[in-house]
Amino acid sequence: MTQPAEVPARIARNAAALFNEVSDTFVMNLGVGIPTLVADYVTNENIFVMTENGMIGTGKSATPEEAHPQLINASRQLVRETPGCVYLDSAEAFGLIRSGRVDATVLGAFQVDQHGNIANWIIPGGKQLGVGGAMDLVAGAKQVVIAMTHANNGKSKLVRECSLPVTGFTEADIVVTEMGVFFYEDGHYILRKIAADATIEQIRQTTELEFLCAAKLETMLP
């Protein structure tokens, strides 16, 4: 099986691959954690990364020499500008999200259930107190991609019913884990891509939610 250190890179690489063929302007938002890594695998110049604190055309992580303390993404990482980038206030940034100008958001999650519900804003218990842009993003982005590890301490994050508080009424359109890529279609998740080192049987054993398998499975990027 995949070594833990390779897992985030694999998930990010496969999330980026979903959109690397777009042929028109495509605005992408990236959440905290694994989704932030997606920027490193975006190769298509039609893709513009927007960050909800107020920028379109957000670049990759800045080296200490390039870094400007006032230039950060929504994960508070110091980032670069790209040619043609533009700054916005936060209301306009969320206006873009609400009005459907963000083609896809890639977010992490604690749980996704088989109805497509996403739980990604809080684990109750007093250690967290924040929501950030999660609810606005799942409600407003045209496509919601969840990029997350398949399980947490051996417990499937793809569940029958979310036990944690949900983030909104919206469905997760695509779920990318280190084992497979699932597409939500007509009320079901369909496994369409599988990792080279995983079998359908293994995925069934480690997945709580019920999913269908595509007739022809593609192999995920390594």
């Binding site: 950060i72 500008e81 206030d89 936060s90 969320f94 609400r98 842009g133 606005d136």
Partner: protein, 220 residues
């Protein structure tokens, strides 16, 4: 003679009273008016309601205001970067109202634009939306959100002219222009003050009419 808006941080925050509501710009460290926050800490004002996206990291900026017991409630979006804020809330020392970040920014924008309330999808169907009035548009459930205004706004910009026209710096813009328009009294901390007429009118982001006081950040 025009009255000058340029003053020290201590003079500017002297307008803030106990139990008032203060908006503070910034996202993490970017765009946070640290000198103004420090002056507010030193003013010893108590019972403050702080409207800010987050509370930064512990033991700096707004975290110091919390540590000094000067805060009675927080209205914002994300406190996970400051575990001391979470602890204070869990212990009942402060009240917290959590808002989706887009709702937080739009509510502030609305206050500045004279809009009392609006509908949004964010938080519908969630714990944060459970007590809100709802209405269906185009078969989707929206929640009613009210404008969010403050007595005083503390904001940060890169450059001001003597009237208080402002230009920001990169992602430090964030909530600052919205807050400038949403408070009765707005104090801008700036890195530089240029001569009147030196700013290109086409690039000014915040018009001076929103700004009541200008404080030049001192570089030690």
């Amino acid at each position: 003679m025009r009255k000058s808006k340029i003053m020290s941080a201590a003079q500017a925050v002297a307008n803030i009273r106990d139990n008032q509501t203060v908006m503070v710009g910034g996202f993490g460290r970017s765009g946070t008016p640290f000198a103004l926050v420090q002056a507010l800490v030193e003013s010893g004002r108590m019972g403050l309601t702080i409207i800010s996206n987050d509370l930064g990291s512990p033991r700096e900026g707004l975290g110091l205001l919390l540590n000094g017991g000067q805060v009675s409630s927080l209205i914002g979006s994300f406190y996970n970067w400051n575990p001391e804020a979470i602890k204070a809330y869990n212990e009942g020392a402060i009240q917290v109202k959590l808002m989706p970040q887009g709702t937080f920014s739009e509510s502030i924008r609305s206050a500045g634009a004279g809009i009392p309330a609006y509908y949004t999808l964010a938080s519908a169907g969630t714990e944060l939306g459970k007590d809100k009035e709802t209405r269906i548009f185009n078969q989707r459930t929206y929640v009613l959100e009210e404008a969010l205004r403050a007595d005083v706004a503390l904001i940060e910009a890169r450059v001001a002219d003597p009237l208080g026209n402002l230009v920001y710096c990169k992602t430090a813009r964030n909530f600052n222009p919205l807050m400038a328009a949403a408070a009765s009294y707005t104090i801008a901390q700036v890195q530089e003050i240029v001569e009147l007429g030196a700013l290109d009118p086409e690039v000014i982001v915040t018009p001076h009419v929103y700004v009541n006081a200008i404080v030049k950040e001192e570089h030690a």
